[in-house]
Amino acid sequence: MAEVVLKNVVKRYGELEAVSNVSFECRNGEFLVLLGPSGAGKTSTLKMIAGLEKITSGQVFIGGREVNGLEPRQRRVAMVFENYALYPHLSVFDNIASPLKAAGVAPGDIEARVKHVAKMLQIEQLLDRRPAHLSGGQQQRVSFGRALAKEADVYLMDEPLSHLDAKLRHETRGELKRLHGELGTSTIYVTHDFREALALADRVVVLDKGSIQQIGTPAEVYDQPANDFVADLIGEPPMNLIGCVATQLDGSLCFASDAFSLRVPSHAVDCVRGMTLPRQVRIGIRPTHITVELRPAGEDSVRAEVYVLEPLGALSILTVKLGADLVKIRVPEDFSAEIGDQVWLRFAEEKIRVFDAESGHRLV
């Protein structure tokens, strides 16, 4: 067990800077998720920790020891890949045993460890099969098994669930979280799927274009996104961002646009008062925090036009046109409306976030 520390790490491929000045820490026993879209630099970061990519500049420490100059095998890390990368000519047992054999573990110990890992992953009955005879989910378990069999201080996982179908992904995700709970080994996990990040992580590092956007607990990145990028990355549908102007009308502070005018909620008043008004902002509100009425509902309700309604079974997603923006709202499955209908929206005041229109930083 060990903590992993990255200090000002940079990765350049020729002209292209894939990772720019990234610093973060994965504490001992922590489950840290690197979340970002493709090209965010998360896999490059993981590979630098593993030693599979050279570090252009900066330092990586594992358990207090700088590992920049060390080969992957000297770093005491185990890695699970996106594609299972199993040896097709070896049985499941031999696949799991291969890193142990390479490390020169005694045959008796190998057998014991493989059996132990197989039991943990519930693949004992598959040990003498070849990878070709396994389902995708089983192959990924074997691939986990190969990583777990090795004595490692840190587990590195690169989108290990992305090739599984929805149901299996769901199950394996739960399995993984349970395993981490049992083993308590520091884990750094790369994904582009915010659900995996929120469900698995102790803390999430959000990356975009090689830079860290936010580091925080799942609740923090969901509820207090540092900027519009993070707000837009997390949630299905993600947080609505509605362009408007913070201004003063008839003595009261409000967010206004051509389509609506909304009183500034109490938790934002102080901040808005401190701005030079009027100021271009975007207000952010999650689809769960808007209620829809078919009639005008008080002076704080905002009129909008139905753009499309999509039933998803247990609930539906209603998209409405509010000025130039499309706003998505989670509504009950029995809600019905036609394209073009007028509806009135009510925002849960305390859930309104405010972002700077230019920099994208969260102001409130």
């Binding site: 179908d165 769901h170 739960g174 969901y222 997390i234 999650r286 079974g313 247990a314 997603i317």
Partner: protein, 367 residues
């Protein structure tokens, strides 16, 4: 009887010994958005390719507008198609790709230009029209392929996973645009997908397929609320439905379900009728995670006790896994509910949300 725009009659597709599609009967009506939903290898793509004329029909007939098209070339069928693998012309720019189906029909350049610009506008690809496919990302190529299919009038639009390579945001965007295009223009669309959310969100009707066999055809809510069998129940819905093996016994007016680690009694006429149809006393009880309420203490004698083994926050919702005997039961709750691992909780659900399946045939007995 009015015939649908696309009608499949007893259609089979065999590749050597493999039966990819088995005796399929299906109809897509005028102006309908029909989704073919199923896991990979279920025969949905083969079905679409047979409608398009890209695969031979082994047995049976396909009609488009009442005319049997079995022997017709794709170009004679008056169809448009968007491919999952894009299938763009690599030597043509995005613009020329979209214009291709119009130009081969000898349309005047002025009209071609107007139409290409119009569809490019709708799909927000106006800025990449002069690029060659190899300079476009997968998502952009997919939108071009989609535009090429939508640019011209056709009797039927066939779409093979046209959103699969888009990122989540683009996908939800294009999903809405496609649904609006369909509603406004009254297009007839057959859409293949493995993503149940896509099918639910857009389709008028969903045809669920598995292993080459049609499982159920119905509106999204029918398929979700009244799945015909275990496969459909399992495939539709995220997180997936909880399925518990039970022994069923009638006791007075109550139906008694006994499973590993729990026993509940329910008083419900529909359930009683369904239970009567069981061939043995064994059945499978299905209940969706969002239809289970989670309580800290026993609120009624009908609640099921269990221990929390996993808590997964997903932002808008949370999924709590509760161990009940040998069953791991998933419950979808509001993210505000806080429970800790190992905590004892009580599960409750109403008879109205319960499904009962035959253990051998997998059929939903409530139908």
């Amino acid at each position: 009887m009015a015939m649908g725009v696309v009608v499949l009659q007893n259609v089979w597709k065999k590749y050597g010994d493999v039966e990819a599609v088995k005796n399929l009967n299906l109809e897509c009506k005028e102006g309908e958005f029909l989704a073919l939903l199923g896991p990979s290898g279920c025969g949905k793509s083969s079905t679409l390719r047979m409608i398009a004329g890209l695969e031979r029909i082994t047995l049976g007939s396909i009609f488009i507008d009442g005319r049997e098209v079995n022997a017709l070339e794709p170009r004679q069928r008056d169809i448009a198609m968007a491919f999952e693998a894009y299938a763009l012309y690599p030597h043509l720019t995005a613009y020329e790709n979209i214009a291709f189906p119009l130009r081969v029909r000898g349309m005047r350049e002025q009209e071609v230009d107007r139409r290409v610009r119009e569809i490019a506008d709708t799909l927000d690809i106006g800025n990449i029209l002069d690029r060659l496919p190899r300079h476009l990302s997968g998502g952009q190529q997919q939108r071009i392929s989609f535009a090429r299919a939508m640019v011209r009038p056709a009797r039927v639009y066939l779409m093979d996973e046209p959103l699969s390579h888009l990122d989540a945001k683009q996908r939800s965007q294009l999903r809405s645009e496609l649904k609006r295009l369909h509603r406004f223009k009254g297009l007839t669309i057959v859409f293949v997908t493995h993503d149940q959310i896509e099918a639910m969100a857009m389709a008028d009707r969903i045809a669920v397929m598995n292993l080459g066999v049609l499982q159920q055809v119905g509106t999204p809510l029918e398929v979700f609320n009244h799945p015909k069998n275990l496969f459909v129940a399992n495939f539709v819905g995220e997180p997936p439905i909880n399925l518990l093996s039970v022994t069923v016994r009638q006791e007075g007016q109550d139906i008694l379900f006994t499973g590993d680690g729990f026993m509940i009694a329910m008083r419900d006429g529909r359930l009683a009728a369904a239970a009567a149809k069981l061939s043995t006393s064994k059945g499978v009880l299905g209940i969706r995670p969002m239809h289970i309420a989670l309580h800290r203490e026993s609120v009624s004698p009908h609640s099921i006790p269990g221990n929390v083994t996993l808590y997964e926050g997903l932002g808008d919702t949370a999924v709590v896994t509760v161990q009940v005997g040998g069953n791991a039961v998933r419950v979808e709750t509001s993210p505000d509910v806080s429970v800790s691992i190992g905590e004892r909780v009580f599960l409750q659900f109403s008879a109205a949300h319960v499904h009962l399946f035959d253990q051998d045939t997998g059929e939903n007995l409530l139908h």
